[in-house]
């Protein structure tokens, strides 16, 4: 028993030493660990892996998603995905996003901040608390949400409209920051700060996601 325990201690020590020598985890964009699943598609959701391989989801399913994946919905298509740990995201039609992350030592837990980079279209997300911080990047702005439910719509030239359904989201452009609260909306356009939040009909803004959420 004691020799077995000694072996375990030795193995643990060797493992710890190996981690120390390797300098800790490397931040590679490897596709080894799923970061979520695609759960439903009205029409077709196209998933393009980092090696160019394409998968398609039609209807309900459970397709694993990896960092670096590009997700695309076509006209008249919508999709629902679930990011770990517990962040639902819906994509409206004609939407393209890329799944990314930032590692930041100052962020509690694993230090990973999940990022969705939207090049076109519209998404809804419900970001949770703690490690479930979510950032949504658009060509002209960034939304950072924790304990917040929001909708982001990207238009011509990257102009982005943020509507917050619940909680508060930080909205930033290269020219300024806004705190956008529940029931209000702001716009971020190229070359300008985000507009002062105005009252908005949040329920109407996310009405589009009813079909895919069922």
């Amino acid at each position: 028993m004691s020799s077995r325990l000694g072996g375990l201690v030795l193995a643990w020590a060797l493992g710890a030493a190996l981690v120390a020598v390797m300098g800790g985890p490397r931040i590679a964009a490897a596709q080894g660990q799923p970061v979520g699943t695609a759960q439903n598609a009205v029409g077709t959701l196209v998933i393009v892996r980092t090696d160019g391989i394409e998968h398609r989801l039609q209807g309900k399913g459970s397709l694993p998603l990896y960092e670096g994946d590009v997700l695309r919905t076509e006209p008249a298509s919508q999709a629902l995905i679930q990011l770990r740990p517990g962040t639902p995201v819906a994509l409206n039609e004609k939407t393209t996003i890329k799944i990314l992350s930032r590692w930041d030592k100052s962020v509690a837990g694993s230090g990973t901040v999940r990022i969705l980079r939207v090049s076109r279209g519209e998404l809804w997300a419900k970001a949770g608390s703690g490690e479930r911080l979510l950032e949504v990047e658009t060509p002209a702005s960034v939304v950072s949400g924790r304990d917040a439910e929001f909708d982001v719509k990207v238009g011509e030239d990257g102009q982005s409209a943020l509507t917050v359904v619940q909680g508060t989201a930080d909205f930033g452009t290269p020219f300024g920051q806004c705190a956008v609260r529940s029931g209000t909306a702001s716009v971020g356009a190229r070359g300008a700060a985000c507009t002062a939040p105005q009252a908005a009909n949040a329920a109407a803004a996310i009405g589009w996601k009813q079909a895919v959420s069922q």
């Binding site: 930032r102 930041d104 002209a140 960034v142 990257g158 290269p174 070359g191």
Partner: protein, 336 residues
């Protein structure tokens, strides 16, 4: 007397330019307040995925920072010397390095083939050119969030800002142009044809923009007043990067690493009178070059011999050769 005063004022301007090259006019926000840093030379080692930190006075290696990414390529240091940003070509990411702790504290996904990084003049943003995406990512240097992107031409490889910060200049390998971006609107306002495979860009001591055509044999100068290419000169095959300095009273001079010659070519930095003054033999395939604020020391890194040479501009003599990591590409200096 007149010569001395001119040299002194130009020297002052060079010091200001060196500071501007380090990234701007204001302190970065937040973070800890501590005593001044010692002069440091930072070297990006592409095949080691590291940054070598060298003492700027003793020329000894004081540390090696793991960039926690792949193919560490370009560097930009904050004005206060506390933050170093490194692009990583293969990862498409920017590493944020705390220079006091000599530790990477954040890894930011910018875009495919993140090539070069430059800090805005107020140091609040890091602009990163992504060759594979044909974009510039704008990174908040405090929160490390990406605030936006700007679409540019094919294969952006060089990036610098004008003295007043009103314009950013981006060299595009694929288009053979330098694009001018209005920083107030984030729109491209002009594309200037410059030559074959333009690469490195830097702000010169008189406020002009200097660039290398790495696919050719020449360097060129752009005047921000007219947004035109106003001068060029052949320096040899595969010119890489440019720094500025003095040789005693002579100067400011431009020092160009010419990879095909294994030399640093020394030029008059007067665009109206560009001429080669001297050629300094260095190591194998010189690439990165940087100068100290006073313009008396040059730091040159060599991709094949994997070392850093310290050159005294007054005598053109090599003062020290420091082994660094594999395939060093970029070197930046901070301190006086």
């Amino acid at each position: 007397m007149h010569v001395t005063q001119t040299a002194r004022s130009t020297r002052f301007a060079l010091a200001a330019i060196a500071l501007a090259a380090l990234g701007g006019c204001a302190e970065m926000q937040g973070k800890e307040a501590e005593e001044p840093t010692r002069p440091r030379v930072f070297v990006a080692n592409e095949s080691s995925n590291t940054v070598t930190v060298v003492d700027g006075e003793t020329f000894t290696v004081v540390g090696t920072v793991d960039a926690r990414n792949h193919a560490t390529h370009d560097l930009a240091v904050s004005r206060d010397g506390r933050w170093l940003f490194a692009t990583n070509l293969a990862s498409g990411r920017l590493s944020a390095i705390n220079t006091r702790a000599m530790e990477t504290v954040a890894s930011i996904a910018t875009g495919d083939r993140a090539h070069v990084v430059t800090l805005t003049n107020d140091n609040r943003q890091a602009w990163v050119a992504n060759i594979g995406d044909n974009t510039i990512s704008i990174v908040d240097t405090t929160t490390f969030r990406i605030l936006g992107t700007i679409a540019v031409g094919k294969g952006p490889t060089g990036l610098t800002f004008s003295r007043d910060g009103r314009f950013a200049y981006v060299s595009n390998q694929g288009d053979k142009t330098v694009e001018v971006i209005d920083t107030a609107s984030h729109r491209v306002v002009k594309a200037i044809p410059v030559g074959t495979n333009p690469h490195f860009l830097v702000l010169g001591p008189d406020g002009r923009i200097w660039g290398t055509n790495t696919g050719g044999t020449d360097i060129y100068v752009i005047d921000p007043a007219t947004q035109d290419k106003i001068a060029s000169i052949n320096v040899g095959p595969s010119p890489q990067q440019i720094a500025f300095g003095f040789k005693g009273l002579q100067g400011p001079n431009a020092y160009v690493t010419v990879a095909g010659l294994n030399r640093v070519v020394v030029l008059s930095a007067d665009p109206a009178n560009l001429r080669i003054l001297e050629q300094i033999d260095v190591g194998q395939r010189p690439n990165g070059i940087s100068g100290n604020r006073e313009g008396t020391r040059l730091f040159v890194v060599h991709e094949i011999s994997n070392d850093l040479k310290v050159i005294d501009t007054g005598s053109s003599a090599v003062l020290a050769t420091v082994p660094v990591g594999r395939k060093p590409i970029r070197v930046v200096f901070h301190g006086s």
